[in-house]
């Protein structure tokens, strides 16, 4: 282990850490506002990466999707989930005695984005587009899934305990993974690099992809900061995080806050997926482990502090990289064992607080 190897490992760790940081931020964000421990965060990563791959190379030959316009499976999935949400909404709405025009209005609201996405995919055929346009389209496909997931899985039990919400999250994780297998198949995908340039700095080779990862992560963190500090909607979200009942009394919709939050989480997940697509092979079930590392990083900040979560993520990335170097067979063990001393240290520091 000399300086040059250490620097290469550190760079590799920080690059992966930047992605874990996005996921850790999303995890903290969702927990702070909805009290949901969102372990399905990683699924959006796989969805993002594979959607882009399908736009690039088309679907597996002979699959249903390939025979029907060759749209990525996620486009169909989004439409299907939106339709289910409309049915659920209508049933509940008519139970509450809403009029037909109101029901139609709600349905139109739910369906607007999915139908628009589907129409763009169906008529414009994004398969021939340049890479950046396909990436934007991918974000447009995966992001609306977030609010729909909230609507179907969490909203009916929004006031339940943290434990119940965690159990629902486990269900959501399995459902999204299973759907991933149905819509993408069992094979892995790899995306082309956004930027093939390489820069030599001493012993380190910094790839263009790594630079893009850093820029995207930092830009997103800055955007989140601006959103929560300077916009009314961001402040409303923070208010929800501090006190749900108080926020409702002030006329802030907690259900709207939940949908917006999961939309942000889906967006961050899909963005992470676009960023790691070129560096690894992504399978329908790859997201879980990546999301779990983001979760470990979020634990560093006690699921409450954004800066601590980012530092935790960088630490997890670097630890993983050095762990792979020293004992590659025990890498995961090393990463996930670190959570124990962190939890101990946190509980000594803060004692038990029973507030939810």
């Amino acid at each position: 282990m000399d300086f040059s190897i250490a620097s290469i490992l550190t760079l590799d760790g920080v690059t992966n850490g930047a992605i874990y940081a996005l996921l850790a931020l999303a995890t903290v964000l969702v927990f702070a506002i909805t009290r949901v421990i969102f372990i399905a965060q990683g699924e959006f990563v796989a969805y993002g990466a594979i959607t882009l791959a399908m736009l690039q190379n088309g679907n597996p030959v002979g699959s249903f999707w390939q025979r029907h316009g060759d749209l990525p499976g996620t486009v169909w999935l989004l439409l299907a989930v939106a339709l289910i949400a409309v049915v659920v909404d209508s049933v509940r709405g008519s139970g509450r005695g809403l009029g037909a025009d109101q029901l139609l209005k709600d349905a139109a609201k739910t369906l607007a984005v999915p139908v628009l996405v589907f129409a763009v995919a169906w008529f414009a055929g994004p398969r021939g587009w340049p890479l950046w346009a396909q990436s934007l389209f991918t974000l447009a496909v995966v992001t609306p899934l977030g609010p729909l997931v909230y609507r179907l899985a969490y909203e009916p039990v929004a006031d339940a305990s943290v434990l119940v919400l965690l159990i629902v999250s486990v269900g959501v994780h399995f459902a999204l993974t299973g759907l991933g297998l149905v819509f993408f198949g069992a094979e892995g995908f790899r995306n082309p690099s956004f930027w093939d340039e390489r820069f030599q700095i001493g012993a380190m080779t910094v790839s263009g992809q790594a630079i893009i990862i850093f820029i995207a992560s930092i830009a997103l963190m800055a955007a989140l900061f601006v959103f929560f500090e300077l916009t009314l909607r961001g402040k409303a979200l923070r208010a929800t995080a501090v006190n749900r009942l108080g926020a409702r009394l002030m006329g802030i919709s907690t259900s709207g806050a939940g949908k917006l939050t999961l939309g942000l989480a889906a967006f961050m997940g899909a963005l992470s997926g676009l960023l790691i697509g070129p560096t690894t092979t992504v399978f329908y079930d790859s997201g879980f482990l990546i999301g779990l590392k983001g979760f470990v990083a979020a634990i560093f900040g006690g699921l409450a502090s954004y800066p601590a979560a980012v530092l935790g993520a960088l630490f997890v990335g670097v630890l993983e990289s050095f762990g792979s170097f020293w004992a590659s067979a025990f890498k995961e063990v090393i990463v996930f064992t670190v959570i124990i001393p962190v939890l101990l240290w946190r509980s000594f520091l803060h004692g038990h607080d029973d507030e939810e």
């Binding site: 290469i8 490992l9 002979g62 094979e187 762990g323 792979s324 590659s328």
Partner: protein
Amino acid sequence: MAALFAAGAAQADITIGVVLPLTGPGNGLGIPVNNYIKLWPTSIAGEKLNVIVLDDASDPTKGVQNAKKLVTEDKVDVLVGSAVTPVAIAMAGVAAEAQTVQLMMSPANLPAGKDTWSFRLPQSNAVMAHALIEHMKKKGIKQIGFLGYTDAYGEGWLNDFKAESAKLGGPQIVAVERFARPDTSVTAQALKLVSANPPAILVVASGSGAAMPHKGLIERGYKGTIYQTHAAASRDLVRIGGKDVEGSFVVSGPAVAPEQLPDSHPSKKLALDFVQKYEKAYGAGSRNQFGAHGYDAAIVLEKVVPVALKAGKPGTQAFRSALRDAIENMGRTVLSQGVVTYSKDNHWGFTTETGVILKVVKGEWDVEN
């Protein structure tokens, strides 16, 4: 009850129960086998074939349930499956209990005495390692690095390769590194292997997961030879690996590239026949290892059923036992994937004539002779 017996006696069809992962993570292996089973002959030795296919969803519990249903309710004469190792192992217990031959579609290791009714149609790692080691010896490679999955497949290859290499006086493994399928990078492992700098590295991974470690080694500037195992011998390696896998070597059964086999290769004729039939039904370039295992199962049945029919009618225990004895005594048999010689103590079958080394040249397989 009496009516049931009468029906059973009147129908002396041969019933074959197939259990395969048609869904779940193993479906990439199960679907090709099932694809070929759809092309099986409708009768063998004048007896009608009745094939029942059930999905095990890559789950051992489901596999056992299916196998139990097939042996008790359908009274099958032969079980075929599964294509994923854990399910195949679980089914072996049912096959032994029901004294029914099981043709495994996975190279599953079973403890001695547990596989008396189970025969494997895929090649063992040891047989494939043999071909790799011979190739390495020919190229004068004395030391290799190892980069493999942290699971049963990686572990199995490591042990089988070591044992086989010691036997043949092949290369020493000087560095062992592991990774997991969902890993986002193998930079650290590749660094370590590149700094040990063995002249060749063996990557042990499967399907499309085999490309990522390969690319990682190239990215870190590894200049030596890279070898891949037979689980990586699919179009996915080239599809995802692109130019980084150029010039590397993959071991495989002969069925994947029969056109280039030398005419002296025993499997050439059958492998060509398999590719022609399979691609006619499923499109050019659809050939694969597991479809060929399905093809080979039919060859084995065509050879042993006529022998077993002399001992009893289909549906009877006498017939089932005779099938097992016939497979154990069928002698040297050429299949599309190589040559098998099953015996009482050897239910692996494949001889060392099976492994073919393919080189990736311009994104295509090139057989090394």
